[in-house]
């Protein structure tokens, strides 16, 4: 990175382009596919609002994940975990198809993890956040955060190994 860039901040559009996909994956892992869209919107709207106050040179992804974490908690508290089996139809007909279609096992498995495990897996493995930072977000010790992440992955692996679909076609149907 050039020293000059440290003093300036990118246009927010560049932040959306660079981080939008990661934040969406994080929200999907924590909340399930359907509420993820709302959490993404809440996250980026709040981020846009406070962007001028973010110090230049700050870790933008960690900042966004922190905001997404809070927004997802709002949704979890509202009891909106729609990734769990539900009779309610999806709210957004604009969504072309159901993300993860063909892999309901994974989404199911994620949805059945305790929230802290879901969060730890999302922040560590999708956003690349160190466990010491995740610990701060979750209000637990770094060891507990690490354990939550490891337990989450173990549970996912076990759930998927038990699923004949994924176990035998683990590369088929993956988009990119």
């Amino acid at each position: 990175m050039q020293p000059r860039q440290l003093a300036t901040k990118k246009p927010f559009e560049a932040v959306v382009q660079e981080q939008g996909a990661t934040v969406l994956r994080v929200c999907r892992a924590v909340l399930g596919v359907h509420d993820a869209d709302d959490a993404w919107s809440d996250t980026f709207l709040a981020a846009l609002q406070s962007y001028p106050a973010l110090p230049a040179g700050a870790n933008v992804q960690a900042w966004l994940v922190t905001i997404a974490h809070r927004k997802c908690i709002d949704h979890l508290r509202a009891g909106n975990l729609r990734a769990l089996p539900t009779d309610n139809p999806p709210e957004h007909p604009s969504q072309l198809g159901i993300p993860g279609e063909g892999h309901p096992e994974l989404l199911d498995a994620v949805a059945h993890l305790p929230p802290k495990q879901r969060q730890a897996v999302a922040y560590h493995y999708i956003a690349g956040m160190p466990y010491k930072d995740i610990a701060v977000l979750l209000g637990v010790t770094p060891e507990a955060a690490r354990r939550a992440g490891a337990d989450g992955v173990k549970a996912l692996r076990a759930a998927l190994a038990a699923s004949p679909v994924l176990a035998h076609s683990s590369t088929k149907g993956d988009s990119k």
Binding site: T8, K9, K10, P11, F12, E13, A14, V16, G20, A21, L24, R25, R28, A29, V33, D37, W40, S41, F44, L45, L48, Q49, Y51, P52, S94, Q95, L96, G97, I98, P99, G100, E101, G102, H103, L106, L107, V110, V121, Y125, I126, R146, G149, A150, V153, K154, L156, R157, L160, S170, D174, S175, K176
Partner: protein, 208 residues
Amino acid sequence: MTLDPSPDLAEVTHLLQPLSGEMEPVLASLHARLARDAQLLHTLDVAYRVVDSPVGKLLLAATDRGIVRVAFERENHTDILQILANTISPRILEAPARLEDAARQLDEYFSGTRKEFDLVLDFRLSRGFRLNVLQHLPRIAYGETESYADVARAAGSPNAVRAVGSACATNPIPVIVPCHRVVKSDGSFGGYLGGAEAKRALLTLEAA
């Protein structure tokens, strides 16, 4: 720290792959929703869009006060957006709605059906004598030209011919603020931010 039994990143990434389904269309609609919401909540300081034109792709940018910047492709749109982030605000999004009018009027202009622009302009990027010059330019009628010396006189500083040149060269809102209608006293075109070809194209269009 003891040896870490934490799972391999590649394996977990693969496990979580289904979460990446349908990203592109969902992100596109989320982006549009963000632009809409930001506009409603007045947290969008600079909206922009890129339009096609006979003089290449034009970047149009607007604050809540009006059109603040028009940039030619050769100016490098990424650089221009970074400059806007530095000088106005980094709260910038591609948000076509705010530029709807400008895009339509430019279309009409380039197709020859519009002789003057009826748009609210934000001149915050210009000050002093340069601002005087820019505010004079829309008075040069479509199809007409003035020399740098004429403009200097009109802007109240007959000797400031070179300053008129630099005011035109740094016009943040070219095409809409018609600095292309300022030419050299000998009738030759003089320089242009969008390149000599673009200036020729605009004057030819207006002469038709």
